[in-house]
Symmetry: D4
Subunit: 221 residues, 8 copies
């Protein structure tokens, strides 16, 4: 696994990251880390690597667009001195275009999204050992759905910027697309956005597969 003892990993994002975590930044005891994929990642890492002590921090806030996240990125991510920054943002940038189409200022265009994400990556790279870019997604296998089609533009921006800046890239949209060949999206989420624990586990698995995690790791005595 790419993480070293006492590394701090900060997850920045929206409600998919947040999932009930302490605001604005949660970690440690109780439900401080929330119940989303970052918590599942923490659980699996601690269970499989008892000899390691890693610090996982949840900087997700429900409802955030890339614009909102950028505004608090200094305070809630950079100032925490992370060794690793994982970003999952963009769902609300797109969703607001469809559920409140009259409120144009609630959403974020592709141009602004790319600019926002670029600034966050550059800020994170300046302080951390590495940056992990995870895509936004819509749990919709029909690529012609208005919102699913729009989402692909944001996914593509993530992929392009991850490549440009040498970030680890985790494609949640593609992962979900594959899963829904077997099961209907309502098994994971009724609103096609907020995953239940099976969905959070799917995301954790995908994320862990990109950082060298080994489920069968045994610590040396």
């Amino acid at each position: 696994m790419i993480f070293e003892n006492y590394d701090r990993i900060v997850f920045a994002g929206d409600s998919v990251t947040d999932m009930g975590s302490v605001q604005p930044v949660g970690e440690g005891l109780f439900e401080n880390m929330g119940r989303g994929f970052p918590r599942i990642i923490e659980n699996l890492v601690y269970a499989a690597y008892p000899e390691l002590t890693l610090r996982f921090t949840n900087s997700g806030i429900s409802g955030n667009t890339s614009k909102d996240l950028l505004e608090r990125f200094e305070r809630d991510v950079i100032n925490l001195n992370p060794q690793w920054v994982s970003i999952c943002i963009g769902i609300n940038d797109v969703w607001r275009q469809f559920d409140t189409p009259a409120m144009k200022d609630y959403a974020v265009s592709t141009e602004d999204y790319e600019a926002n994400l670029r600034k966050m990556i550059e800020a994170a790279k300046a302080v951390a050992k590495g940056v992990i870019i995870t895509t936004p997604y819509y749990m919709e296998p029909n690529k012609a759905d208005f919102m699913r089609a729009r989402m692909q533009d944001y996914v593509d921006i993530c992929e392009r910027l991850a490549s440009e800046y040498g970030c680890i890239f985790v494609n949640f949209q593609e992962m979900y697309d594959k899963f829904f060949a077997y099961k209907h999206s309502s098994l994971i989420a009724w609103d096609r956005v907020h995953p239940n624990l099976i969905g959070a586990t799917l995301m954790a698995k995908e994320w862990l597969s990109k950082v060298g995690f080994d489920y069968n790791h045994t610590p040396e005595c």
Copy 2:
């Protein structure tokens, strides 16, 4: 409009009918009628026909399948001596096949659905002046979606039985299909099932268009 003074119209169904109504049967003051399409219908009828006094009753219960509704049909519909019975059932018959696929007994097959609906229509026709069959639906324009495809089978059964028994037929699925050519489903519902008030208004409009309702009706002095 086909309704006469003091007619009682009973809406039987699931959460789409229920929407917070009093259990098992709600009507009259406060939020007893819930906030779904039956309430919108009542509001529009009272506002446009002040000289009429019609009794609207909500017999919807959240989570009901056609099996559940049939079991309580005598108590919650027939015994109320309605002049008109409107039925909207089947969404949960289908949904449970996809969100809890392992619990096979939670869902209802097409065969059982048809048998259940048939029994309800026959019971209603025996006491009422007329029966209104409204279809279940899934707010999914992609007809290849697993759940949308399955829903069509249930919609078709509704249409066939309505024709066979001479019922008024209201096709909510088709109405939604048309609407989603203009707006994304997330404007109406995040879970593609439970409509917000815009959706309930769409359903009320569709229903009223089949019973001779006139928005510009003026009572004679």
Copy 3:
């Protein structure tokens, strides 16, 4: 209909406008718009004109007199850059004269009411395409009732100023007077002020009848 795509319509008022909306200004998802006549208007417009995207905003605050509304008019109405402003104020200006007669400063006299309303109309006209003046009302058919009689003075001021400034005029008091020829006021409200959803629908219908709304509008493909 007089509204064009992406127009913003702001409803300013008291509890009759507010009805549980987000404070001080509500719009968009959830119950942000409240449950009063502005929400019914939004529902009917979206249901009948799916090709349009209009922005409806609720700036009603429970308990406001014209004095209270004027004080926040800049912040809660003008600064929102509306294309249309609809004002419904004055009920509390009158009501406080009767339910708390000893607290003279809680109420607003006709002179002050006219001055307040005039200032709001002028401010609104300076930024919007049009202003809609709706009257306050008391659901009391007996014009000799102390409070109903006083209310008429405020209704008359509305009518006069609407004419003077070329505003669209909606007479809720007259509409209710007509309705109560058929039904008793307790069908709509026990306190003769806060309408239930039937009353809110009556008000929405009256309002829509003045802005060229067509219930049977069909969008062109």
Copy 4:
């Protein structure tokens, strides 16, 4: 005052009597007696006649019509072995005719009202020293109001039966009619039915004026 030491006075009625009292029968400590006119009567009697020990019991239940009260009269009034029975019923018999006109079985006609009240008076006379009939009322000075006009029929029945059976008669309707020559009904109640504490005090005063109560009574040492 007509009451003797240790007499028990039972107030039977609807929400106007109940006003938050313990269900179905409340008396003694805490808020058991509710906050309506029976509590005000108890307070004034105990304050003015410290040498007396009278037992006041509240058998009011919110929403009751004369039909509902008759059904529980044996259990909640007669079985308590009262020396005095005070009855205030009929408001809901009338109100339901106007706020839920379609639900005809929710209301009670004048014929049924008279029959119900007659049965209660006869049952009460069989066990008590005296019966006090108080009228239902609607706080509406306009006698042409649909509901106020209907209420008068019920008030008249009370007066007639009180005379026929030799009961003490308390005319709340007339008392309110007089009061509203000075103040508007909204000083006492927004819904013209449920009095605030000023209204409850008015009712207590009227009631006490018929039972020989003296505000300036001084106990002998």
Copy 5:
């Protein structure tokens, strides 16, 4: 009665005055006036003098000593421009000497009490037509009880200052002493301080007897 139309009467005090009133100053609708003796006074005055419109204001705050009341007297009493000021303070000055004897700074000595009360009377006289001094009390007929004995010193100060400044004087302690010759204190209060509604009515009666109130007043037509 000594009050004239539109006079404002402000009640300053502790929990006995407050009794759930709005903080720091309550009046008008709902339970704003609390449930203590000022509310009973308001009820009786409005019920007996319908032609008058008096403004009653509750400036009681639970737990206040004379020191606390003096600190907020300008804001909560004088600035309200009252025509009449009624003061009931001192119970907590004494009580804290006995229930928390170690916290000496929680209580107020007789010297300080007199100085505090004097300042309040002088401030009130400067703006009002009249000042009403009501005594603190302890519902304890045994004058040898530690706390009852101490209370008498504070009662005596009230009487002396009322006489010195020509205030109306209401002796609640003496009134309770007389009442408890007939009934035990637990009929009115378990803690011998906070009266139930019978106690509040006793206090209202005593207060009204000093201001020319007539229970049988009839307004001229």
Copy 6:
């Protein structure tokens, strides 16, 4: 100390015993034992005698008179197979005579109290090693107070029956009388009945002084 390993001690009584304990019988974890003197006894015994394992059970129920306790004595005391039974009852037998004097059936006379207590003692003696009779009390040093005087009759009955049946006798009334020579009753209870934790500790100390408890006990190794 008179208790042996694994003895069960059951405390029967009213709210003074109960103090928030589980209903009808509480013991063991959490707040099951309530916060009254039985809990303080348990705490002190476990802290001073770590080598002993005694079972303390709280059978107190708030509001009970001796009549109420007798009715449930078989179920809540005898059926638990106690080695020791401690009874503290009678406060409500007396209190109801004074706070609700009109409700004569709420209280219990001295004759009935003696008969009830006698039956409980006889039932307890038939199954237990010993019975502890503790007196009811009123925290009132003035023996001429109506309620304190009446309480003495009940205290005397306790003393007489304890002597007659050879029970351990604990005189809470006398203990409180002595304590109030030093401090005012409001240090312990505002209502002179329900002790705070200082009062509960006083009672536990008095009780323990009669059963051979040694605060400085040291277990042998």
Copy 7:
């Protein structure tokens, strides 16, 4: 993996199994399955084997001993027609011996534990394809701790019976013993019994390692 499509796996146990699941039996949507190790197992299985549809059911009830579980085993396990039964019971059998030592009937002896477990295994084997015995545990690495030592007796009984009946055996105690060589027990649980999500993940991993689960399983297309 040993499970076949549509197999039902029932988890019987106490609070460690329950963890907030629906009572008495939970499965499917929402938090019905609770948040303990059975939920983690379900999540991991669904995430790794999307082509499979297994039914997981939580029959854990907080506070249960083996005696309590045996009493409801027919209703909550056998009658559900499971293909697999997983049992985790015994912690409370031991715990009650130490936290409430006086209440001997709250705990369960080793003899009774063995008899209870034997009956459950036999009942489960009669209906299911296989039985999984998981041990109770105490998160205490010090084997000389009173409670940890006693727990070992119960763990040994599990191991012996699993062997005797050919059940799959999962040793949670041993798993935790190994883990606590690296981390202190307070990382997992403050009370050394109720695991947080890291602990539940450890238990799920141990359980899955005995049923042929493969984290890197890929479904064939």
Copy 8:
């Protein structure tokens, strides 16, 4: 006993001191003092020494480390002008090293602990008659447990500083070690830190044994 009339004793600490007390400083009525050992001490002192009036103040705040306590020591302890200061701090300094090992800044090292404690002792000695140092503890008899071993270092610092500065020394750790030779730690606390009332009583007894308290003290008349 070493305390004189009107002495103020302030308890500074963490959740073990706090136990629900008012924040940041609690004393006097209601549950202001919390339910921990300071409250038990107050109860026992008032019950045994009725002639004394001592002021006990709870300055414990849940979750505090010695770093947190030092930061508020001026405000919450010194500024209260105590005659005696009792300090119980350090549990969280150690605990955070084990339950959140990755958050190194949440815990306090032995070096910092000693420095913090030293500053607090010096500040307290400058204003008070005496300082009482009580040790932190972990209810773990196994001295090889990771956390119990670390705790001993902090206990030793307490003992050393108490000796160096001439403070009264109370060794809670040693007291608990002895107690757990007889009973298992789960009798007192499931988490081995927060004592139930038996544990709080044990701590109060230990504390009182160092200040000359006599359980059998009798005040002279």
